[in-house]
Amino acid sequence: MGFEQNKDLLGLRELSRKDIELILATAMPMKDIIRRDIKKVPTLRGKAMVTVFYEPSTRTRTSFEIAGKYLSADTVNLAVTTSSVQKGESLRDTIKTIEVMGFDLMVIRHAMSGTPHYAARNTRMKVINAGDGANEHPTQALLDMFSIKEKKGTLDNLKVAIVGDILHSRVARSNIYGLSKFGCEVRVVGPSTLIPPEIEKLGVKSYYSLDEALKGVDVINVLRIQRERQQVGLFPSLDEYANLYMLTPRHLLQARDDVLVLHPGPMNRGVEISSDIADSNAAVINEQVTNGVAVRMALLFLMMGGSKDEIAD
């Protein structure tokens, strides 16, 4: 199988296609569990996990927490803020403290790229990156891929457009790494200040025109636009951004008839996505949330289900 050898999940860059296939395949039966009346299986009984989020995020944290609970793991949320870290305890000490409480796995989100890697180097716990700075958000990309595969039947050789702030987006990075492993043609589109020129070296095509980028695509993944980007002058106003890049029904005409629209949430309706689209049949935004729980259950099972080190054979 292979994935069980990975101590941590830090990004999709270092995962193989086989690893990703295993995770997505495991997520299928997990999704069935979520739909049952009795949404619990005993497999991770006696395992403990902790979510440590240095950035506010209700949905990702809740998703991990409930995923752990559905599998019978004990899940705890540690409340932390970036400011308390900078003033007080070092991350290393925080991690050590958590480790000696006996947790098996830590889910970490941090505004600074590379922090999960630093954490993983400093602990025996398994570490899942729940988003680090502008680097990666592997579980988001896995749930996006799961949603695509579920609707399209395959991931191979699809045309996928990612719209928005590519420069700062960890969701975009992880999707690019993941989808590229399945031969997808990934296009990125957004204002030139948010599309780094070197991005094409990752094998993607970059566009400034939304209409052009959407020609013939199977999937559109719309990224949330952060208001702070406007404040530092990367684009002049949200109005202008919406005029150029808000996904509306008119744009869908460029794409394939069965185009799928994804959004990692939370949405800014009327900025990056119009309500007509968000509420349309093409959008699977709510289902993505369910799929997120399934994918995280799969990961937790694959990483904590059974322990491989004590086997002599």
């Binding site: 199988m1 069980e4 295993l22 395949a25 495991t26 299928m28 039966p29 997990m30 069935d32 569990i33 049952r36 009346d37 009795i38 619990k40 299986v41 005993p42 497999t43 599998l71 799969a298 099972f301 694959l302 289900g305 059974g306 322990s307 491989k308 004590e310 086997i311 054979d313």
Partner: protein, 183 residues
Amino acid sequence: MQLRDKNVIMDEMAMKRALTRIAHEIIEKNKGVDNVAVVGIRRRGGPLAQRLAARIQEIEGVNVPVGILDITLYRDDLTTLSSQPQVHRTEVDFAISGMNIVLVDDVLYTGRTIRAALDALMDLGRPRAIQLAVLIDRGHRELPIKADFIGKNVPTSRQEVISVLVKEIDSKDEVVIQEIIDT
């Protein structure tokens, strides 16, 4: 671990006869099959359950619901396995509450698989009764579990392995007994 083939203990015909007999027993015990469903334990319990349902259909002219149960998430031995098994879907797309469920597996050994399957079934609903059908009962129970329908009792030692082969997975029907050789 290396295995050496010792004996073929059932061939295709013997398996067929055993399943036909079990089908009759199921019908008899349940006084018909009105409220009966057959659920196989992945992997080889699945095809065996399909075949039992087909026999029942031939005998009674009734299509009984068939399901497949994946018990990976209910196992108690994941920590002792050298490689993690892949989780598959449980395919029971009918309501099991109030039904007589015939659980089907290929070999009954320690009873731990059945224990896991019982838990898995209970999480899907509240059946009226659960019965157990196995093609081979090889003894060595570690839990208080007993089959209701048995194709063949095979006394074995713990050094032996029973392999049930089915056409759907292994491209032939056969039950063989093998011996573990320590190397």
